[in-house]
Amino acid sequence: MSNDLVVTGVGGQGALLAANAVGEAGTAAGMETRVGEIHGMSQRGGSVIAHVRVGEDVHGPMVPTGRGDAMIALEPMEALRYAEYLGPDAVVLVNETTEMPLPVQQGAAEYPDGDAIMDELHSLGEVVPVDAEGIAREAGDKIAANAVLLGAFSARVAFPLSAEQLLGGVETMVPDDAVEVNRRAFEAGREVIDRERPVSIP
């Protein structure tokens, strides 16, 4: 049985970094861990998905569609793009800030209505919108939005890794001089979730 998380976003937002932070935490905890990524064409500005699987009996690097326990989305439309991975009881932690795709910047397309995206997401699972970029900015650097969402994830989603373990993964992944900002961002993300983390651990 594996615990399955997908992390989505736009190239340059640090989605892979967030996924690897969870992977580092799983590895440090001695769990079977897989982080599946795609390199190459997924460059800056492109759509990004990373699969994270942690548990005792993990087979394969990819979360099967319809089986994800949670999603961390750094961008609303990127949450929707990979909604097929969500399981029936999945929780989606989504940054509220939108990133305009090239066709939108060029005027060839319009960014979909934000409320419509959120409505659609709500129809697919439990959605927790987080002003991750704003909170990260207050913590010292808006690029730490991924740490905010990981903090919120640690407080909201039943996953076999503690907040301390997840924060440890974040600290392993970021440069020394960014540890403090990311720690603050992570804690601020935890505070967004105003209820206790569920205790059930598979």
Partner: protein
């Protein structure tokens, strides 16, 4: 979190467990392969970058000084293999790294290598890209293994990829034959905990001892070598009968049902069985060629029905069907040849679930993936790959468009500038270096101007022969070389335009305009792509010139690291301090 240098712990230091157990690090599959090469005592690494193989070279290039092995990015995969053979023949364990299509380029030398064999270990890592995440086609490298009669090992996960790479050197030396390790994208680009073993000191070779009977492949020698090759691959088969990477496990109460899974497919088989709550004996096959026929034969005999699961082509399945027929085993074999399993694109648990359920005679679960995401497509806008802001390629394309409009025939090539297709600036693109060959060819049969685009790394890789062909056979064509001084798309590896080597040492850059002049191009110019007038003037002259014109558009990639201290990117998987 900010992007930046990843903090790492020195492997083998404080990661060691309290009971002195092996240290474990979260490693990308390609980093695990690099680590396996170090643990296997690699003395020479030669590579041409290409997704999904690139991080193997990128990991090793920063470590060559620490561990004392030779490292080069070769101009192409054939040159890489030739360097690798020379290293092995000089007594150094040799690793040669490429993506699947790279073996097409190296195939000529590769076929002869199989005939000659080796004494010191030679391991080729050839990374396949099912689903074509970053490739022009999907090829199954296991066919090449069978074609040349070279053994191929297929890892299941990063841990096994590491162990296999190290073991491949031992196998290579035990049987006197090169060995291929075939990761696919989901091995190369998956991170998993990998336990680290010691890194031995690099064994220095004694130098080359010529062996003309083996190494000079004239017909008389070839006739001697062929029977030996046939004999040698049977010896390999015998050795692989005992491979610890091949394992059979029993899930539940199989009742005569077996599944034979090759490489990464094993993961999807196990996950499907869990999900379906079904039973089977599972043969995890790590050696698809040559097939260990005694062991597989026993598995066939022990079962009434066997499903063969593998990614891409039915390479193992065909061998298994052939074996069953020759051995007279009465067993039902299922797989791709009876249309149960897909041959195109990568395998996933999603795609395997229903065929597995059908083969096993169980119901797929109610929440099985149906391939529909139920999301309103109107709410999704694509994020296509794009030129980076300020990219010199985009400027250059604008200049060409201004001169030739839509009239020109425009062969392209492989690199970031293939994105020119979105600007209507690439009409044909098949393979590395093919753009110059197409320019020479189309110019013979068309009156429209021919303007080809090719990058610097690709020009050196395989673009030069097409240029010479155009000059010598009198083509009227313009070849624009987009010289951004680095192999940009794969992550800024140096090439002969860069001025330094894989390990950051100064090297004399090869000016592309000098090459063009030397082979006799009729018009040669160097332009600054950020100067629109300079570009249009030069392209206009080039198109007007009868014969072959070469315009070198020179400006460094906007991501190019030019400072000496930045020549080697930070190594993510820092193995420093361990071993030896």
């Amino acid at each position: 979190m900010s992007e930046g240098t990843q903090e790492t712990t020195p492997a083998g230091g404080d990661d060691a467990g309290p009971d002195g157990e092996q240290p474990t690090e979260l490693l990308l599959g390609n980093e695990a392969i690099a680590r396996g090469a170090l643990e296997g005592g690699v003395g020479s690494v030669s590579a041409y970058p290409g997704t999904p193989s690139t991080e193997i070279g990128d990991t090793l290039r920063g470590l060559s000084d620490d561990y004392g092995f030779y490292m080069e990015y070769s101009v192409n995969e054939k040159a890489a293999l030739e360097t690798g053979i020379a290293a092995a023949y000089s007594g150094l364990r040799s690793l040669v790294v490429m993506k699947h299509v790279g073996l097409n380029v190296a195939a000529d030398t590769f076929m002869s290598l199989a005939h000659a064999g080796v004494d010191t270990g030679l391991v080729m890592v050839v990374a396949d890209d099912p689903n074509m995440w970053s490739s022009q086609n999907e090829q199954d490298t296991r066919w090449y293994a069978r074609f040349a009669r070279v053994p191929v090992l297929e890892p299941t996960d990063p841990q096994e990829a590491k162990e296999m790479t190290a073991a491949a050197f031992e196998l290579s030396e035990a049987v006197g034959h090169p060995v291929i390790v075939r990761p696919t994208t989901r091995i190369s680009h998956t991170r998993a905990p990998v336990s680290l073993d010691e890194i031995p000191e690099v064994a220095r070779g004694d130098g080359y001892d010529p062996d003309p009977q083996r190494h000079v492949q004239v017909p008389a020698h070839g006739r001697q070598l062929k029977p030996k090759l046939l004999q040698r691959i049977e010896e390999v088969r015998d050795v692989l009968e005992d491979s610890r990477f091949n394992q059979v496990e029993t899930i539940g109460d199989p009742d005569g049902v077996g599944v034979l899974a090759s490489g990464i497919a094993y993961n999807y088989v196990r996950e499907s069985l869990d999900w379906l709550d079904a039973d089977a004996d599972v043969f995890k096959l790590a050696t698809p060629y040559p097939l260990p026929e005694n062991r597989v034969g026993s598995f066939l005999r022990a079962h009434d029905r066997v499903l063969v699961v593998e990614e891409l082509d039915p390479v193992v399945e065909d061998s298994v069907r052939s074996l069953a027929q020759r051995a007279g085993v009465d067993v039902e074999i299922a797989g791709k040849q009876d249309d149960r399993l897909p041959t195109a694109f990568e395998l996933t648990t999603d795609r395997l679930l229903e065929p597995m359920a059908s083969f096993l005679g169980v119901q797929p679960p109610e929440n099985a993936p149906d391939g529909e995401d139920d999301v309103d497509d109107d709410l999704l806008v694509g994020r296509p790959p794009q030129f980076c802001p300020g990219c010199p390629h985009e400027q250059l394309f604008n200049g060409i468009a201004e001169v030739v409009g839509e009239d020109a025939i425009q062969p392209g090539d492989i690199g970031c500038y293939t994105l020119g297709v979105n600007l209507g600036m690439v009409d044909i693109q098949f393979a590395m270096g093919a753009g110059t060959g197409f320019a020479a060819g189309f110019a013979q049969f068309n009156d429209d101007p021919v303007v080809a685009t090719i990058g610097d790394s690709t020009f050196f890789h395989t673009g030069i022969p097409g240029l010479v062909n155009a000059v010598y056979n009198g083509a009227d064509a313009t070849i624009v070389v987009l010289d951004n001084r680095t192999t940009a798309m794969t992550g800024q590896q140096p090439n002969p335009s860069t001025g330094w080597t894989a390990d950051g040492e100064d090297a004399p850059a090869v000016p592309i305009e000098d090459v063009a002049r030397a082979v006799g191009a009729d018009y040669v110019d160097v332009v600054d792509p950020y100067d629109p007038d300079e570009v249009t003037d030069s392209v206009e002259q080039a198109v007007d010139t009868d014969g072959v014109s070469v315009v070198v558009s020179r400006a460094p990639c906007v991501l190019f690291r030019q400072d000496e201290g930045d020549r080697i990117q930070p190594v993510e998987a820092d193995f420093g301090g361990d071993g030896a």
